[in-house]
Symmetry: C2
Subunit: 136 residues, 2 copies
DNA sequence: AAAATCTTTGCAACATTGTTGCAAAATTAA
DNA sequence: TTAATTTTGCAACAATGTTGCAAAGATTTT
């Protein structure tokens, strides 16, 4: 775990600050995508909201994590697996309408919809909603 | 146009208040999905932000419009065409990375991605990004 | 090791999006 | 016309995210 965190940070030339290390651990340990409030509440020491947001921004800029905007302004953050890097043109996530958890569907395959005349697609974000493993 | 607005409101038992009528006109006339600020700025008379949000909420509750959350907390609102009612299990939208316009792709067909063990899908929201008709 | 530099953190303030409570104005019903 | 309901505006608030500035911690330079 520690090694994975260090590797992720090292790859992106991000220094090992306490806040970064702890946040990455939390995100890696969590099977689902988390909102900022939950990440912050899980931190072993107190960090200011600003610091957490700044760290999230660094991670986003370096594509260590990605954000998943939901209906109602809710946003979740999740570690970006190799399969779903920015370079990849397709991302899928699952929103459980029962427990509100969000999961990355990193290995989902998908047939792009046909585009109307004149529209050229570069990437696709799919949000599937339904019931997750735990709620079925 | 006027008739279409009245029909939409009538179907949902929403009274013809000035704000509702004008907002629906704006949304119907626009080929793309609009943020609240733009809807409000296009209104022929001044209405308070609160009133506009309350009207949006009525429309959302009655499925007259739907909201499209984007990366970065941006939200767009668009009239719900019959083809893409809540009852339908699939919605697709197009985000132009050049001019930031959002369009509904109401007639797009699509093959649902396969779900992992235990996950049951009920609906799909697809956000395609690329370049729109005007920007190509 | 001391001084200078760069980075991270916290605090206060602010912007934006959206909501709520309350009272005034406008509609609608009795 | 009076009474009841709905719509609107205003002020205040909540949540999410950003910015400026100064203090604290690391790094580097000499």
């Amino acid at each position: 775990m520690q090694e994975e965190v260090f590797a992720l940070l090292g790859d992106k030339n991000l220094s090992r600050t306490p806040c970064r290390v702890e946040m990455l651990k939390i995100l890696l340990e969590s099977g689902s995508a988390l909102p900022e409030t939950e990440i912050r509440s899980k931190l072993p020491q107190h960090f200011d909201r600003t610091t957490v947001y700044r760290t999230l921004r660094s991670f986003l800029e370096q594509d260590v994590i990605h954000s998943i905007p939901l209906e109602g302004g809710d946003v979740r953050y999740a570690v970006t697996r190799n399969k779903e890097r920015k370079s990849s043109q397709f991302h899928a996530h699952f929103y459980c309408e029962s427990c509100s958890s969000v999961y990355c569907l990193s290995r989902a395959r998908f047939e792009p919809p046909e585009m109307p005349e004149g529209f050229v697609a570069a990437g696709y974000d799919v949000l599937v909603n339904g019931k997750c493993r735990k709620c079925n």
